[in-house]
Symmetry: none
Subunit: 216 residues, 2 copies
DNA sequence: GATCTTCTCCCCCGCGCGGGGGAACCGGCT
DNA sequence: AGCCGGTTCCCCCGCGCGGGGGAGAAGATC
């Protein structure tokens, strides 16, 4: 009997890609899709998947909350694999703490994705792929890193800085985080103040220099 | 005279979407469509498009080979923009090496797609659009550096980008280089155009991701 | 000579950014 | 109950930024 998988991602293209990759395997069957976390629990109840491939960042209910909701409210819950774009995404670890069984990168090769699904279906836990260790190893210089740690950014400020470091405007960050533009401005101002940066460009430079974000 | 665009994608839905987006612009005209790479060269010869929006993955002849074929066999070849679904598409960089002038993601917003077409039509190389990070992540900094070299910054523009990456304002850069503020603005604008960056922050990000500057 | 690129500087203009305030809500802590 | 930090949103305001033009001088190239 095949491994039944439920896909949860707000981007149709990502779902289509995962479906194509997984359904090419004879032992894997995609039994359903959801575009946001709020739809996950009912779908898990009705479809009884073995594995849920869950995006972290989604509108309405993110992957972390959705993971908690599934584990809390479903008997014999499925294995949950967190799907993420960036390996240094802090949310990934939150999701793992919330009870997820592993994670995989969207840029992973199809064979790796298939492998990950099979592993967690068998009860294994995928915690720290080589990519994450390698990234942690080449983390930034100690002084700069310490400086940024001293800055003591809040969770939300860290989110904003991460998106700033991806070149997003305030409006784009607001759309990404599903908050108002004024809210983003508040967070940006707080980040600039804490980092001692004059503008967003200096803040992004500090993020790179400290290893808060890393090239590649 | 409008920018003449040829669409090449095996998915009719994608072609329809691109056509709808591009033809909403008064200065852009979609002159033709092709469903696979094999049909591209004859169509380029007969239609003489300014820009070819080329999917990477296609039946018969993929976007990489089709790009090579066009550049090899057509005089005064059109600009070629690689269209891809996933930012980590391993073939994207191969296409850039084959001579493509830029790339864009299918999930990009209409305004970004239009912007990309206009930029490459003007002879710029489009590097930034969100995919640079993923490319650099998977293949290391060498490809991104090569891509930045393709941008062909002049000596002065490289000077300005280096100082931008140190967090300097236009006025500070002007003082550092002992030139007028207006001169710096000109160089900055040139850098942004060549990198396909929207603002100085994105330019600095591209500088880090490409290894043009390094943390530490 | 003519042409091209590069570097230099200038104009106007719109807008996003960042500073400076304030305020409401909520959860945690005392 | 009271306090406080975090998140959310609002106001006004000045200014640097970036786009779109143009233009002159120097050097390379043909």
């Amino acid at each position: 009997m095949p491994i039944k998988v439920l896909l949860v991602d707000d981007e149709p293209l990502v779902r289509a890609g995962l479906r194509a990759v997984l359904e090419a395997q004879p032992d894997i069957e995609v039994v359903g899709e959801a575009a946001d976390g709020a739809a996950v629990v009912p779908l898990v109840r009705s479809l009884r998947p073995d594995v849920v491939a869950m995006d972290v960042r989604m509108p309405l209910l993110d992957g972390i909350e959705a993971t908690r909701a599934v584990l809390r409210s479903v008997d014999a819950p499925p294995k949950i694999v967190v799907v993420t774009t960036f390996e240094n995404d802090e949310y990934v670890y939150d999701a793992l703490r919330a009870g997820a069984d592993g994670f995989l990168l969207k840029r992973a090769r199809p064979a790796e994705i298939v492998h990950a699904i099979r592993l967690v279906a068998e009860g294994e836990t995928l915690l720290f792929p080589a990519a994450v260790r390698a990234l942690a190893a080449e983390y930034g210089s100690a002084p700069a890193r310490a400086a940024l740690e001293r800055a003591a950014l809040t969770d939300r400020e860290a989110d904003v800085l991460r998106l700033m470091a991806r070149g997003m405007s305030n409006a784009e960050i607001a759309a990404e985080l599903i908050v108002g533009a004024e809210t983003v401005k508040s967070h940006v101002s707080a980040v600039l103040a804490k980092l001692g940066a004059r503008d967003r460009t200096q803040a992004v430079i500090a993020a790179y220099e400290s290893g808060f974000v890393s090239p590649g």
